[in-house]
């Protein structure tokens, strides 16, 4: 029997077995690894999915936002376009509004010129021309106000306002218009309302007139009530303009206080007016420390409530009703004053020259005309004028230069600026330069007559041109008296000086009064005139004006003494 050697084989087997095991293990490990990797890959896939979803969402949101933004921009663009459209049509509308009255003015004037109007129709046609002119002026003023407001250039005053007087004048203007339409117009002022407030009277009047005129326009029956109240807590004046008119639809009411709205156009065409009033009024009210609000009901009527800040307010025991009763009947039409004296008018526009000269001559005074600053200087130096009216815009030499030239030569007579500028900063310039005052063009007759009255002489007591002015022909007794008077003049001069130094207006008044009464009898007419002028204006003048006039009086007295 042979023995088989298995040992090397089992070694090899062992080795193989080991190898196989190792392989198995390796394979296991590899499978494990693979499984891990698979898991990782799944995780990653999930993560990628999440990221993918997240990105989708985010982009989706972004797209939404962009769409919303696009929508907003589109609607803003629409708004801007429609606002622009509104502005364009506003301009076109305004252009039409301006041309219409001009056509009437020019047309009717030409018809008159060509003799096409009957004599008895003439007054009516002239009234039409005047009315259209006034309407045009109102329109232009509104447009200017509007542009100033848009440019934030509008300034309001802060001065004392006689509230009762303002309300009374409002009534005077609106009452007749209301009566013409068979409407009532009443003003009710409650007890606690102040008699005076600190505000801008011009703008306040403007707002109230706008509200009242609107009320009158849109009311066919019933009437208008203006209720005035005062809120102590906020120091606010509240004025409600209540009408029993047609009322305003809600959609229109919202747009009422805006400018450039389409809604206004049809109303403007139907009811007239400028269509800008309420927007301007609201802006003005806000500038005056208040606002305008509206309560309205279609078919019932509307109440426009204006509030303004009162600033420093004065309260009187007198109620508005009592105030009305105390007043004598008002004539708001300016009365032509009776004056004499000489005026130098410097104005380059021929039509204005004639117009203003006519007003001056209507008072009884004399007027010389200069066409530009140079002529103004020449004439002012050549003759003795009581007042110089100086237009600012003139060719060759303007009003400011002429003023400066005269000032450099010591000219002391009053010089009043005539200017189309009503911007208060420009008017300030004139006052600071030394102009006595400024008058706005076109001239307000009341202010114009006031100015003339201040600087010219009243001619109610015409000074007699005495035959005694010629001393050679004078009665010797009178001559002696005259000489005596001349020595008296020294006393008068001293009395005047004393009164001026002591700021004693009463004493000054007395001396001037005596001088006025006596000088005329001895033929010293210029002294009498000067004294008369001072006497009449004593309480109205500024200290500067008074000083100058007293100085002139003293010089005239001195001259009289040497005659």
């Amino acid at each position: 029997m042979r023995k088989i050697r298995v040992t090397p084989l089992s070694d090899e087997l062992q080795q193989l077995k080991q190898l196989y095991q190792a392989e198995c293990e390796a394979r296991q490990r590899a499978e494990q690894r693979l499984a891990e990797l698979e898991n990782n890959s799944l995780d990653h896939n999930q993560q990628l999915q999440h990221i993918g979803q997240f990105l989708e969402q985010a982009v989706g949101v972004q797209i939404q936002e962009l769409q919303v933004a696009k929508g907003t921009l589109e609607s803003q663009k629409e708004e801007a376009e429609s606002a622009n459209q509104a502005k364009t049509s506003f301009l076109a509308n305004m252009s039409h509004e301006i041309r219409t009255p001009l056509t009437a003015i020019i047309g009717f004037s030409q018809s008159i010129k060509n003799g096409l109007i009957d004599k008895d129709k003439l007054p009516e046609i002239i009234d039409i021309i005047i009315d259209n002119g006034k309407h045009l002026l109102n329109l232009i003023n509104d447009i200017l106000d509007l542009s100033k407001i848009e440019a934030e250039q509008l300034a309001v005053e802060s001065i004392d306002v006689d509230l009762f007087k303002l309300l009374h004048e409002l009534g005077n203007v609106c009452q007749p218009n209301a009566q013409n339409k068979d409407l009532s117009f009443t003003i009710e002022v409650s007890q606690e309302v102040p008699s005076n407030i600190t505000s801008d009277p011009t703008r306040l009047r403007q707002i109230l007139l706008n509200l009242c005129n609107n009320a009158l326009k849109f009311t066919q029956q019933g009437g208008i009530t203006v209720k005035v109240g005062y809120f102590e807590g906020l120091n606010l004046l509240e004025i409600d303009v209540i009408d029993t008119g047609v009322g305003i639809a809600q959609e229109k009411a919202e747009k009422l206080f805006t400018a450039f709205t389409q809604a206004d156009e049809s109303t403007t065409r139907k009811y007239g007016g400028t269509g800008l009033g309420l927007y301007i009024s609201k802006q003005l009210a806000q500038l005056l420390g208040g606002d305008i609000t509206l309560e309205t009901e279609l078919g019932k009527g509307s109440t426009f409530s204006l509030s303004v800040d009162c600033g420093l307010a004065q309260f009187e025991d007198l109620t508005y009703a009592e105030y009305i009763n105390c007043r004598s009947p008002d004539d708001d039409i300016p009365q032509v004053p009776k004056l004499k004296g000489s005026v130098l008018l410097a104005e380059d526009n021929e039509i204005n020259q004639e117009l203003i000269a006519m007003h001056i001559k209507a008072c009884g005074a004399q007027v010389d005309i200069a066409c530009d600053g140079q002529q103004a200087v020449e004439l002012a130096l050549q003759s003795d004028y009581d007042l110089v009216l100086m237009d600012i815009q003139m060719p060759n030499m303007d009003g400011k230069e002429a003023f400066e030239t005269l000032q450099a030569l010591g000219f002391t007579k009053p010089i009043v600026a005539l200017t189309a500028n009503v911007i208060s900063s420009d008017v300030e310039v004139y006052t600071q330069m030394g102009f006595t005052a400024s008058l706005a063009k076109p001239l307000n007759l009341t202010h114009f007559y006031e100015t003339l009255g201040k600087h010219l002489y009243p001619s109610d007591n015409p000074t007699q041109k005495t035959a005694q002015s010629d001393t050679e022909q004078m009665d010797p007794f009178l001559l002696k008296l005259r000489r005596q008077y001349q020595t008296e003049i020294t006393n008068y001069l001293q009395q005047i000086d004393t009164a001026m130094n002591n700021n004693d207006l009463e004493a000054l008044f007395e001396v001037v009064h005596i001088v006025k009464g006596t000088a005329g009898s001895f033929g010293f007419d210029e002294v009498t005139e000067m004294a008369g002028k001072i006497q009449d204006n004593l309480r109205l003048e500024t200290p500067e004006q008074l000083k100058q006039q007293i100085s002139a009086l003293k010089i005239l007295l001195s001259e009289a003494q040497n005659e």
Partner: protein
């Protein structure tokens, strides 16, 4: 001498015009003004000096150093008033000169101002006009 520290010093007023009558009228007008407002113009004591032509004027200026000069623009003798004004101002920049003329053409007025005049009056003149021309003398404002 125009720098007066002492108000009671006598002031010299020179009147230059070829016609005596005009000089007299001017003196009367100035007198009326001074008597009316001595404190205003600070003229309490005064003396008038006259000249009838440009040479005389320059001589009197040198001699008296006037505080106030009235000068006729139409002075005869070849040299016009503006020229004389310039010469006066050259000699004494502080001289207070008021031009006197028969008319107020803008050229004369502007030339006078430019050449240093402090006032401009037109014949016939009133005392008030003279006072106005002297207004700057009150404040001793001299160009």
């Amino acid at each position: 001498m125009s720098e007066q520290n002492n108000d009671t010093q006598e002031k010299t007023i020179l009147v230059v015009d070829d016609i005596e009558y005009t000089r007299q009228l001017l003196r009367n007008a100035v007198l009326a003004v001074i008597n009316a407002e001595p404190d205003k113009f600070k003229i309490h004591r005064y003396k008038f000096v006259n000249a009838s032509n440009s040479l005389d004027a320059m001589a009197k200026i040198e001699q008296h150093q006037p505080d106030l000069i009235f000068l006729d623009i139409e002075l005869p003798g070849g040299v016009n008033g503006i020229e004389i004004l310039k010469r006066i101002k050259k000699q004494d920049a502080q001289a207070f000169v008021i031009m006197v003329s028969g008319e107020s053409t803008i050229e004369n007025v502007q030339n006078s101002l430019k050449s240093g005049a402090s006032g401009f009056i037109v014949k016939p003149f009133s005392a008030v006009k003279v006072a106005e021309a002297m207004k700057n003398f009150e404040k001793k404002k001299i160009k």
